[in-house]
Subunit: 392 residues, 2 copies
Amino acid sequence: MLRLVPTILLPIVSLTPALAQGPNAGLPPLPLDEDTYVFDTAEAGRVRVVVVTRELENPWSLAFLPDGAMLVTERPGRLRILRDGVLDPEPIAGLTDVYTGGGGGLLEVALDPGFAENERIYWTYTKELPDDDHTAALARGRLQGTTLVDVEEIFEARTGVGGPPAGAPILFGPDGMLYMGVGGANDDIAQRTDNHQGKILRLTGDGEPGPDNPFIGQAAHLPEIFTYGHRNMLGLALHPETGAVWENENGPQGGDEVNVLEPGANYGWPIVSFGREYAGPRVSERTFAEGMVGPVVVWVPSIAASGMTFYTGDAFPEWQGNLLVGGLQFGRIPGTGQLHRIVFNENWEEIRREALLMELRQRIRNVEQGPDGRVYLVTDEDDGAVLRIEPE
Amino acid sequence: MLRLVPTILLPIVSLTPALAQGPNAGLPPLPLDEDTYVFDTAEAGRVRVVVVTRELENPWSLAFLPDGAMLVTERPGRLRILRDGVLDPEPIAGLTDVYTGGGGGLLEVALDPGFAENERIYWTYTKELPDDDHTAALARGRLQGTTLVDVEEIFEARTGVGGPPAGAPILFGPDGMLYMGVGGANDDIAQRTDNHQGKILRLTGDGEPGPDNPFIGQAAHLPEIFTYGHRNMLGLALHPETGAVWENENGPQGGDEVNVLEPGANYGWPIVSFGREYAGPRVSERTFAEGMVGPVVVWVPSIAASGMTFYTGDAFPEWQGNLLVGGLQFGRIPGTGQLHRIVFNENWEEIRREALLMELRQRIRNVEQGPDGRVYLVTDEDDGAVLRIEPE
């Protein structure tokens, strides 16, 4: 929990005439008008939040280039670049077409581990299919200045007919493989391995199944699948010590989870869940079951867990080894986004959790550690921002 | 989530010299120096929080007299009275002796349903026993002006040897019976019915077992027990429609619960739990089990759920039917108390949850609806307050 300091107070929102708020109205919007905000934290003293830019439209993901520049995706289908904290007014040229209806759009961006040599970046996005269907797709290209060349779609997820998968996080593992989550599994499609929805996939840099994937050679299962039984994944993070890939996913109402991925494992959705359906009934009477792997972190109620990263920098020594997880909203109430900091013991079991930045009322969509050890966020808002957290 | 308005801004806490905060240091304390605070809420517009008094020492419980005066317990063993919002400088005379070591003290206060005729009030407290043992006890007396007469201890809980039970909430049900929780069951003592720890008891106004209690006449079970398998209960509330008694209890790290009490039922602690031990490992791989009743509301992480009440007043029509639950701290981080508002569907299943008042950084210990339909809180702080929430 943090606190505002008077000199940088959040502006008053006009509430005249009196709001006639219906159910689930949420908190009134709060523009990020100040350049900096200062908060108390529980273990890192006071921190300053700097608004690096507020000129983005629903930014979704960010990635740092080796030279310190920052790539940011905008859900409406633009890839942007910031150099020295200044947003280039022109989007990167040459991106794939992106379907932007129904909450879909340009989603994640990640650098090839060999970027310094091959200039290659990867991105995921919503793709329109015939018959009003949609899916998640993966593309790559080489970034030359502000232009993408050699652009090619290298993978298209096989999903059920329905709305577009809301999340498609990607991450290169220490094994050089590209892990990709395909979300949007609101029903038991997540338990069937003849499709990619509600699965974490493990792909080569060419978009092919990892050659040693757990279901390779088993006809009933798609070869790209690494894990299954997920619901709607919005974050992947590499564990700094074990090298394991950690994943998070949204429950419906409660039951957001962080999981540690193990090849071929079933994470249980919707057979087991800590959450409730939006209408109220429990998803399941069970939260664990034989043959299914349980989560290491759970939220009840939900924070709409989003991007996440392990903090390993020097700017906040007190936070080293902590998992930072963005949240779009708390308890199904709009206007209540926050950043959670999760502290673990030596066995990587949770021992406490701090909620940060809720005073800003922003949908915290992604969190990354910068090359400077500071923490960078993007906010999924119409007037979306890049925020930087640094010691005061 | 709420927001401060500049004119009533919280004061700056001195942070010079720089804080050297260790693990779990918590947020710096924040005195309630202003007379009022105004916040946005998600569904009730803006609300004003009025500091009725800030001159209490660790207030724990409050109860309204028919004439509108308010009784407040202080954990150090004093019963106080406020009339027209003014704290009588003299405590009520004639209270029982109270053991105040180790977090114990004077705990809850409740009026006899026949108070208007019999002037009777009931209170719970920590009682010292031989051999450095302690327990929870129940007493009653008649309140005449500012003096208690005919004071008598009418029940003493049979607990295991150990620290004093941290909670002992009491509530008169629509059946005229007095429900009393005896907490502090950190181990499997809660599953054994030869003691009162981790149990909800059902007593007559004389402190005797309810004559139709579920274990009456069964020699292996104590006759006062109504339900068992609880951990550390801090709140009881009467459901405004069903007349059922709802109870809440603290998990260790995660796993705070609200339960609906059914005679003779087992609520599962520590066989099932949504929480983790303080050191990190899960309490159990199971959250539900055959023959045990599961919670209707869960918190992961914990808020240290405390007093609670169903809101039924006219001051906040948007909150009618909601459950208001105080929280002492969030995620095991000191300085993060808050008030949660839980919204249910027509089957009394949760559909959303709002966190309120966290900017005040107070340990919200109890919440009651006043006869004026406004919401009253006490804060478990050295400089403890009575707060009133009203429309702006």
